[in-house]
Symmetry: C2
Subunit: 418 residues, 2 copies
């Protein structure tokens, strides 16, 4: 079964919003074994929308349309759907009641714009939107299914999860796809490719490998296609085991895991805790760790020591060290890490100090100069990095590098104490 | 001039990465007055790529292609380009030298995969990639320009900025587009629409209005189309002034501004400083503030008090208050805000404490219950919220709400002291 995703709305084309809906739908459809053939973003324009529908109908068995359905939209989407499926808008009292009760729970009085949301094409199956006022619409036409949904991510996700997926599963799915993503860190793409070249060329034909580089890491995605899911899973598992033997230190996790989760698991296992002392990362490491559910089990907290005063008052970094070596120095990074251990009473800590940019660089310490320290039962370890990118990338790279430094530090600790 | 964006790569279609490149390109092209007609994401598949090229050539004057050019890609993209433009790959010694020197600066030895990156179509103009090893390629065909670039965002951005835009500007651009986005907070979409209904219906035909809702805020985008840029700008300015009179308290900024920048500007103007004490937001408020360049001028730092112990030891929240009222309470939020003022010696502070989820909720305090406090020269103010969403959205909503609470708090302070 092939799907095409169509997003409607000028906001994507002028870059005011990023199309996260398509990524979410692509992921979910893949889990159901439905291949996404194409993603197309078109204008809020009647002719353009109809053209996209007609092309999608030729390519795909399932066309998922998002956007263009809010209370203040011109409703070009609904008009275009009526024209394409040769029908007209009719008032749906159940939808009206849903809109009314949802808005009253938010203390909003229904106005004309809201009640117009109960006008829906006569020949569609209306899909309940538990998270908002714009209903989903399901059409069938010449063996192709069209589903139109609002573009607000959590409303689309509610309709997909509660209405669309159950119907798709009922229709029966044939081909199986099994994906496994191996997360690596510490090797650039071309060096990684060389290290695993033989393994890669030995992969069976039904397994495809993709290299997905991102700052500081390369994800290796294996995709197996076939009819028997258990055979595919067994072969993927076997291949991943072989791969692990080639690059044991570089693999830190799988699939949707992140470094924070992996570290969290190690800490929980050994009943240890973590704290952070951040200067140049400005809270991003804490945020990254606490984005993971359950992080309160091992994360005690952090200090964002953006000013030198705070480095001294909360982390007890001696003023004379800051004066002698500068805030961006090995001495200050290590003192921050040790200060965090003490002030936040944790077993491990991470500290960052650097020049994120765009200003503040000097010849000696240009923008992107960063000192990272990690501390724990085995003492303190620190390293200098020169990222030299823009502010956003310097913050991301420092965060990922610091977490990976802690990961290897904990692994060595565990080996030594075993 | 019309542009179409084509992204090549299975990773977008299976949702493993979000297509941020198209959003960036859409924004930049709009600033140059080039309309993006469509965005299309296709598979790493030869036939599919050629079909997309042919369709794009019919619709667009400019086709920007990203993806499918890394050292480990199968080079389906380059082969497809050669076939479409009836040419073959030739070795480019300058590009080889660039690849070699770039890799040696990263202490990587050139291998076959890297040197293959110097093989480029004979009839294209090679575009220098200052940020990586995969060159851009510029083709002209029947009055349509095709540009192929790697999919790594900062490499694509380097080629666009240094090579593509200067060439496009030289070609001359005709139509002018002026966008202005008004950022509002505190009114849901339908209530906002009612408040500004008359103003909206009075807009001239050449100005389009779009409502862009996101968590806690609605952005209103005005787009004016015409030939004389100064006329468009003057009319947009006039309309925005009228709009401000209708919803003065809800507008917090314009265009790419965010609440952190707006608060930063107010603080700098009055030479005041800020600190934060975060529990449920786990560092996200600090991260949000320090993402803005120059934030060290007004942001002293923060404490991520994830455990109650830290709330007491670093923020001096009395243990008996935590015991009596619970960590998620008005009393603790206010004590955290006042504790931050004292411990971090700032003029203003923000504090958050709540249950982000998915676990930790009770009947009395369900997931999404949050107390936010702000403190400053005029004292302390706090409010309870019930977001009841998932972890990620609760963190984002708490962050935005807390920043807006501080914004209005500072405005009232300034009015009172004037």
């Amino acid at each position: 079964m092939k799907a095409e995703l169509i997003t409607i709305g000028d906001e994507i084309l002028i870059g005011q919003i990023v199309d996260t809906n398509s990524a979410w739908m692509g992921q979910q459809l893949n889990l159901l074994g439905i291949e996404v053939y194409q993603v197309t973003s078109v204008h809020d324009n009647h002719d353009h929308i109809l053209k996209a529908f007609a092309e999608a109908e030729q390519n795909a068995d399932l066309v998922l349309i998002t956007g263009g359905l809010g209370p203040t939209k011109d409703d070009i989407t609904k008009k275009s759907l009526c024209e394409y499926f040769e029908t007209e808008l009719v008032f749906n009292p159940e939808v009206f009641e849903h809109v009314r009760s949802l808005l009253s729970s938010r203390s909003v009085v229904v106005n004309q714009l809201n009640s117009d949301q109960a006008l829906l094409p006569a020949n569609c199956t209306v899909l309940h939107n538990s998270a908002g006022t714009a209903s989903g619409m399901w059409f069938e036409c010449n063996n192709t299914i069209f589903v139109s949904m609002p573009g607000v991510p959590f409303e689309m996700e509610a309709i997909m999860t509660e209405e669309v997926f159950p119907r798709l599963i009922q229709l029966g799915i044939t081909q199986s796809i099994v994906h496994k993503t191996v997360l690596t860190i510490g090797l650039p793409e071309s060096m990684l490719a060389e290290k695993i070249e033989k393994w890669e060329s030995g992969l069976p034909d039904f397994i495809k490998l993709a290299y997905l580089p991102s700052p500081m890491m390369v994800r290796l995605r294996l995709s197996a296609y076939g009819t028997d899911k258990s055979v595919l899973e067994a072969e993927i598992d076997r291949q991943v085991k072989d791969l692990l033997l080639l690059i044991p230190e570089n693999v830190f996790g799988f699939d949707d895991e992140n470094l924070g989760m992996v570290i969290g698991r190690m800490l929980v296992k050994s009943s240890k805790t973590l704290s952070v002392a951040e200067s140049c990362t400005g809270g991003n490491i804490s945020h990254f760790i606490t984005s993971n559910a359950g992080s309160s089990a091992y994360f005690k907290g952090g200090v964002v020591a953006y000013s030198n005063e705070i480095k001294n008052s909360l982390l007890e970094v001696p003023d004379d060290i800051i004066e002698t070596y500068g805030a961006v120095s090995q001495q200050v990074a290590e003192a921050m890490a040790l200060g965090a251990l003490k002030a936040l009473k944790s077993d491990y800590s991470i500290a960052t100090t650097g020049i994120a940019g765009p200003d503040g660089g000097t010849d000696e310490k240009p923008v992107g100069t960063v000192w990272i320290a990690v501390a724990g039962p085995a003492g303190v370890k620190s390293k200098e990095y020169n990222f030299r990118h823009n502010r956003e990338r310097n913050i991301i790279r420092t965060t990922q590098t610091a977490l990976n430094m802690l990961r290897t530090f904990i692994i060595k600790d565990n080996i030594q104490t075993q």
